[in-house]
């Protein structure tokens, strides 16, 4: 009973955290992009424009709900939620701070420690495609449908290098042990030798590119190319339903950064983030937060620097460059695990 209640409370806290994170991520992105463009960004609502996300939320919520007459109503309404939920539930397996021990009671800062954590990541990331495809399909609009079909091709293609790189990371958990693990919490608790860190960081650029493509971020934001598809799958959506799609994109950015922080940069680990102490969780969460913010900065930095690529280039890059590279990386990792481990 109490474990169910605790999980519900943790999920609620996580959702609130992520939605607030989304709101301030839009602020962070707008401010940063503005500075990249030698502009100022939002600065009228509240000090430094800090109330801007709240104003935007109020605006989105109070907009008139319009359901166009030519759409498939049920799917049209369900689709935004379907794209948002996977982005939220991925976070369940990511540890955001070390355990807190108070007397005999242990509070863990993750919702679920499942033994197939990485598989869960890959599975839920694929489910997110459904929301976008159904949104585009039910809109009954050429542009929306084209946008959503592109998303399908893009996400399925990039799942391949994503999965291969994940497999390589899973292989490294075998080093010096009888059996490897798929749990993110276990991976974080295993100490890695320094050469393994370097070897994993070699894969980080490739992994980052697949994460960019998975979350439909620039330069891979082909599903919503303004210049050819107006806004792709979102074209018939307005008000809070559009905001849900928007949230899905930004929360999957946060989730992607959190995954990368956990797999490549040690998650909450850092100086003074000692498990078992009273200050450990606070410092650990601080480190985790810093790493996620730094990775989000890279997302935005890429958006400010790299132009959107053409659709055939996108798929060519995936199939001709990224997939062979990640297969090679997987094979080399396997060799390292066999001969060194």
């Amino acid at each position: 009973m109490s474990i169910v209640l605790l999980s519900i409370l943790k999920s609620l806290a996580l959702i609130i955290l992520l939605l607030t994170g989304f709101a301030y991520l839009t602020y962070y992105e707008r401010k940063l992009l503005a500075r990249f463009h030698v502009r100022r960004g939002p600065n009228r609502a509240g000090p430094f424009g800090l109330l801007q996300p709240i104003a935007d939320a109020v605006k989105a919520i109070f907009k008139e709900e319009i359901v166009p007459g030519h759409v498939d109503k049920l799917i049209y309404i369900v689709a935004p939620a379907l794209s948002l939920i996977p982005a939220l539930v991925i976070f369940a397996v990511i540890p955001i701070a070390p355990d807190l021990r108070l007397g005999g009671f242990t509070l863990q800062f993750h919702v679920a420690d499942i033994n197939v954590g990485l598989l869960y990541l890959a599975a839920i990331a694929s489910v997110a495609t459904y929301g976008i495809i159904l949104g585009g399909w039910s809109s009954n609009n050429n542009y929306a449908l084209l946008g959503s079909l592109r998303t399908a091709a893009q996400m399925i293609s990039y799942e391949l290098p994503f999965g291969l790189l994940l497999a390589a990371i899973i292989l490294t958990t075998n080093i010096g042990r009888e059996a490897g693990t798929l749990s993110l919490i276990e991976i974080l608790n295993q100490p890695r030798p320094w050469w393994l860190w370097l070897w994993l960081w070699l894969a980080f650029p490739m992994f980052f590119i697949t994460m960019l493509a998975e979350s439909n971020r620039s330069p891979f934001d082909l599903p919503e190319t303004e210049n050819e598809l107006i806004a792709g799958f979102q074209v018939e959506y307005g008000g809070i339903k559009f905001a849900l799609f928007f949230m899905a994109e930004y929360i999957s950015m946060i989730t992607g950064s959190a995954i990368m922080a956990t797999l490549f940069f040690g998650g909450w680990r850092g100086p003074f983030a000692d498990p078992g102490t009273w200050y450990g969780p606070i410092v650990g969460f601080g480190w985790f937060f810093l790493k996620v913010v730094a990775l989000l900065f890279v997302y935005i930095w890429v958006r400010a620097s790299v132009p959107r690529i053409r659709y055939d280039q996108l798929l060519q890059f995936c199939w001709k460059v990224l997939t062979p590279l990640s297969i090679g990386y997987l094979v080399l990792t396997a060799l390292i695990v066999v001969f060194v481990g």
Binding site: R35, F36, V38, R40, W301, A304, S305, V306
Partner: protein, 159 residues
């Protein structure tokens, strides 16, 4: 193998682009003019809101000749002239403008009225904030034209 070289070249280009944007981020302060808080910079011959001018002795320059009304390509100006009272003249000439209205919804800020005016009474000033809440407020009366607001602008020196 040429594909592989393309990838390396592309990566180098992207690294260059990202280096450039990062340099911009850290080294260049924003160039935004925070307009209502800071004055806007305009050229000295900028054509903004209309103004009616006076002589130093307080008499109005406008003599009610209606040439601006005739010159206006959009019919934005409406002038009605009246005879000056010789004891208390409003303008130095025989007649003055009893009604002088500019409809800013019609005006295209071409400056023909300025050019047509024989006494340089009507000029296009430097006021640029013309937004109002009410359509009636777009119709400038003679009082508003004679008492222009302080323009929230500075004139560029480098022209």
């Amino acid at each position: 193998m040429s594909g592989f070289k393309d990838v390396l070249d592309g990566a180098a280009e992207i690294a260059k682009a990202m280096g450039f944007t990062l340099k911009t981020l850290v080294s260049e302060p924003p160039v935004t003019v925070e307009y209502p808080d800071e004055p806007m910079t305009i050229y000295p011959r900028f054509r903004g809101r209309h103004e009616l001018r006076r002589y130093e002795n307080g008499l109005e320059r406008c003599i009610g000749c209606c040439l601006c009304e005739a010159a206006c390509p959009t019919g934005a100006i409406h002038v009605e002239a009246a005879e000056n009272d010789p004891a208390h003249p409003t303008s130095p000439g025989e007649r003055y403008a009893s009604v002088y209205e500019v409809n800013l919804m019609r005006c295209i800020f071409c400056g023909d009225c300025e050019a047509a005016c024989p006494t340089e009474a009507v000029v296009l000033g430097h006021t640029i904030d013309l937004a109002v809440y009410n359509r009636r407020d777009m119709l400038l009366t003679k009082e508003q034209l004679l008492n222009p607001p302080d323009p929230n602008t500075v004139i560029r020196g480098d022209w």
